[in-house]
């Protein structure tokens, strides 16, 4: 049960960080999410994102920062096996589910729905 509380709190804090970037720094949502993704990648490079996932579960894996984290993770895992080439071949290894799901579902949504408003 504690896991849900921490997921809520940590996920909420990451969203507040995004909101502050939008309100205070006057960034567009596109810039905000881009910055968060890069932050996630750098944090994983420093080895700080994995402990956060252990601690907060979905609170750390659901925000877009985890996308950057997973990209680095996939690249590193392949790099350990195949050397430097693995950085390029493995980069989408872990995030494949997210990207392909988003593409496939979005495509079918475009077939099924009409624009609103």
């Amino acid at each position: 049960m504690m896991m849900y509380l921490w997921a809520f709190i940590v996920g909420g804090i990451i969203c507040v960080a995004g909101q502050l970037l939008m309100d205070k720094a006057k960034l567009t949502p596109g810039h905000t999410t881009t910055i968060l993704v890069i932050t996630g990648a750098v944090l994983d490079g420093l080895g700080w994102y994995e402990p956060l996932i252990d601690f907060a579960g979905a609170g750390a894996t659901v925000p877009i920062t985890s996308f950057g984290n997973s990209l680095v993770h996939g690249a590193m895992a392949e790099a350990e096996q195949h050397g430097i080439i693995g950085v390029v071949t493995g980069i989408f290894e872990v995030t494949s589910a997210g990207i392909s799901a988003a593409i496939i579902f979005s495509f079918f949504a475009a077939l099924c729905f009409r624009p609103k408003g």
Partner: protein
């Protein structure tokens, strides 16, 4: 949404900007943050629920379960976008719906749906990544640089 290179402002434009800034409604930062916290936190807590469902009912562990979890959240977000519900929540929640992976799915599906009338290839195919593209481009590039540095670090020292 697009950032254009702005020409330098003239003096008259600057004076106008100062004048207009006085009457701009102050965006209530604290309230926005509270909303973002509550909605964003709820989405993550719901994600935890889905993740636990995968851990207990299927052969996933804590690490591998995050992938199907994200796929489920994306599916729900695309569905809500299609019904026009997601945008209503997003107006209320701001970054609370933009920052979780659901916002990424919303950006993709809304551009896909919006450009459907222009055809499947020219409309849906071309425009699907219009809003979500930067996240993938910069995420991939940043991840490449980070992973490269880490790998080289491993070879030569560290």
């Amino acid at each position: 949404m697009k950032m254009k290179q702005k020409p330098p402002l003239t003096d008259a434009q600057r004076t106008y900007q100062k004048f207009a800034a006085k009457d701009e409604p102050q965006s209530p930062v604290l309230l926005n943050c509270l909303k973002a916290f509550l909605i964003g936190g709820s989405i993550c807590a719901f994600g935890q629920l889905v993740q636990d469902f995968f851990v207990y009912n299927f052969d996933f562990n804590e690490q591998t379960a995050s992938n199907p979890t994200i796929a489920v959240l994306i599916f729900i977000a695309v569905l809500l976008t299609g019904f026009g519900v997601y945008d209503k929540i997003a107006q209320f929640a701001g970054a609370g719906t933009a920052v979780p992976v659901t916002g990424f799915a919303n950006a993709m599906s809304s551009s896909a749906i919006e450009h459907r009338t222009e055809g499947l290839v020219q409309g849906v195919g071309t425009n699907m990544f219009k809003l979500a593209g930067p996240v993938i481009v910069f995420g991939t590039t940043a991840a490449f640089v980070v992973a490269l540095i880490k790998t080289l670090w491993g070879y030569w020292g560290g």
